[in-house]
């Protein structure tokens, strides 16, 4: 484990300008329970990084540390460093609200605001973080974000309808559009397809590939095939004997899937457990 931490550090040091998000010895706690142990990894910009691993290994907890959503849970805290463009988002004085506008998040279950229309949902992040928002500007942002999320053609005639009236897949793309409207640099996706049918899943995966040209995407997925299909880099996590999750192997997706270096990665990839 230590050797891997060191290699990751070495990568981080030599190519720091290349990486948008770097974690150093990141630990996440729920109260006194250590859920994620010493994760050091560097994430490349404009690519898709998948985090895979069996249930309960701390994948979701890990990415929630990337935009300081972990600490929203009562009693949860994170220790270590997460560098966004070289500056630590856990440094004292950093406002998590600012971090979350730069690192967006899409959740497992589509969660559009039920009291808002499709339109209001898309611009919610912009409208509710400013005192005054211009109508025309909001319309513009909404259309652009919906187009980016490949949803515009489907909802352009029902912008006034409730966000909850869309289908599950549309709702999830609405949530992606909502995250895009804030113009983040990184988008975290926590099992974004686990509540969707295969067709809707495929649409989201296509969308992710398109978005990866401009955005950095980190996706947690239960589904190894999905990681194989969409991601450039793959991180494999596992729970240790102490029930704390840690990073087992991290590398190019192709290498992880065809030539894993770690025995446990190989066992998981080949379906021997998990």
């Amino acid at each position: 484990m230590d050797t891997m931490t060191q290699t990751m550090k070495a990568i981080a040091n030599t190519t720091e300008h290349k990486h948008i998000l770097i974690t150093e010895n990141l630990r996440a706690y729920y109260g006194s329970f250590l859920a994620v142990k010493d994760v050091s990894m560097a994430i490349e910009p404009r690519s898709i990084t998948a985090i895979i691993g069996p249930s309960g290994c701390g994948k979701s907890t890990l990415i929630r540390c990337f935009n300081r959503m972990h600490e929203v849970v009562h009693g949860a805290r994170a220790i270590g460093k997460v560098l966004l463009d070289g500056s630590d988002i856990y440094a004292p004085g950093v406002d998590p609200v600012n971090i979350r506008t730069r690192i967006g998040m899409v959740f497992q279950k589509p969660n559009p605001f039920p009291t808002m229309s499709v339109m209001e949902n898309v611009v919610a992040g912009r409208r509710l973080s400013s005192v005054w928002s211009k109508r025309s500007e909001m319309d513009e942002i909404a259309e652009k974000s919906l187009r980016q999320a490949a949803l515009w053609d489907e909802v352009k005639d029902k912008l006034k309808q409730s966000g909850a009236s869309l289908s599950g897949g549309q709702q999830q793309r609405l949530c992606i559009a909502r995250a895009l409207a804030v113009q983040p640099e990184v988008i975290l996706m926590d099992e974004p397809c686990s509540a969707l049918d295969p067709v809707a899943t495929l649409k989201i995966e296509d969308l992710m590939r398109t978005l990866a040209k401009d955005y950095t995407i980190v996706i947690v997925t239960h589904n190894m095939q999905q990681a194989g299909r969409v991601s450039d880099m793959t991180a494999f996590m596992m729970m240790g004997a102490d029930r704390a999750g840690s990073l087992v192997e991290y590398g190019r997706t192709q290498q992880i899937f065809t030539n894993p270096k770690n025995k446990r990665t190989e066992d998981y990839i080949s379906g021997r457990f998990g």
């Binding site: 609200v97 730069r102 969660n111 605001f113 919610a124 509710l128």
Partner: protein
């Protein structure tokens, strides 16, 4: 045997051949349930019906528009008391709705669990305090120092009764808003207070409105807290610092008076008050049905 885990008595019931006795026992118990439910409904109907029959016959336009007549004269109405009750309920709501809502929002969104359970306990205790005690309390802290019965002291007493109702219903309905929506808002870089204001409260607003109306219905009929505070005033509204009349107070005074005419007016007032509370309760039901659909 398939039911090896069964005790002897369970087996006896399951395989009892005495089906007829079981059926009759079942019918007997069902009958008891029906009797209980029937009794409850009968008493409500009797009470409302009696008030309706007694009240309607003395309920007329004069009752609504005229002020109280002096002893010995017939006629007169409760205009001043009706206005007084509206003012008192308005005053109580004006104090209790913001305070109660803010308490509920604090409990549901911001308080740490330890503080929350303390505040919640205090609110529950407050809700259980006998209303006459609340009246005496308002008398001691407002009426005594100011040397006058006043509309304001009565409004404050009613507010004390209403605050826990509004606070707890606000809290409960805000807790029903799924956490995933709070997280969605926070993850968009929306501040905590703004997400509460623009996401959580809109999601809970019908529940909050229901709580406010329940509170209004409750304080509209309160009598005991008014005895030491509002005191009663048949001459009309005379400023918040002066005594004020109220329907329940007048019902109490007129009902125990020896004058036939006053007793009849008390019936009419009881009818009006019941009607008011009934309308509010129906509005509450309508609101909560809208929420659940």
């Amino acid at each position: 045997m398939a039911h090896d885990g069964c005790k002897d008595w369970q087996r006896l019931i399951m395989y009892s051949s005495n089906l007829v006795a079981r059926k009759w026992f079942n019918r007997f118990m069902l009958g008891l349930c029906a009797l209980g439910a029937g009794l409850a409904i009968v008493f409500v109907c009797l009470m409302l019906g009696y008030i309706l029959i007694q009240g309607v016959s003395f309920f007329n336009l004069d009752f609504l528009t005229h002020t109280a007549a002096p002893i010995g004269q017939t006629g007169g109405g409760m205009r001043n008391e009706i206005i007084g009750t509206l003012i008192l309920v308005g005053l109580g709501s004006l104090i209790a709705v913001p305070l109660g809502m803010m308490t509920g929002i604090f409990l549901s969104e911001f308080a740490n669990p330890l503080v929350a359970s303390g505040v919640r306990f205090a609110a529950d205790i407050l809700a259980g305090v006998p209303s006459i005690v609340v009246g005496v309390f308002a008398y001691a802290i407002i009426v005594r120092p100011l040397h006058s019965y006043s509309a304001f002291s009565a409004g404050a007493a009613l507010a004390i009764i209403m605050i826990p109702i509004v606070a707890r219903t606000t809290e409960e309905s805000m807790r029903l808003v799924p956490n995933s929506l709070r997280e969605a808002a926070l993850a968009l870089g929306i501040t905590r207070w703004r997400s509460v204001l623009s996401v959580v409260i809109p999601g809970a607003i019908t529940g909050i409105a229901t709580g406010i109306m329940l509170g209004v219905a409750r304080i509209a009929g309160e009598t005991a807290p008014l005895i030491f505070t509002a005191f009663g005033n048949s001459f009309g509204f005379d400023g918040l610092g002066k005594p004020i009349g109220a329907l329940p107070l007048q019902i109490y005074r007129y009902a125990i008076s020896p004058y036939k005419d006053w007793q009849q007016q008390a019936w009419a007032a009881a009818f009006l008050l019941s009607l008011l509370v009934l309308v509010i309760s129906m509005a509450v039901r309508w609101l909560s049905r809208k929420r659940s659909s």
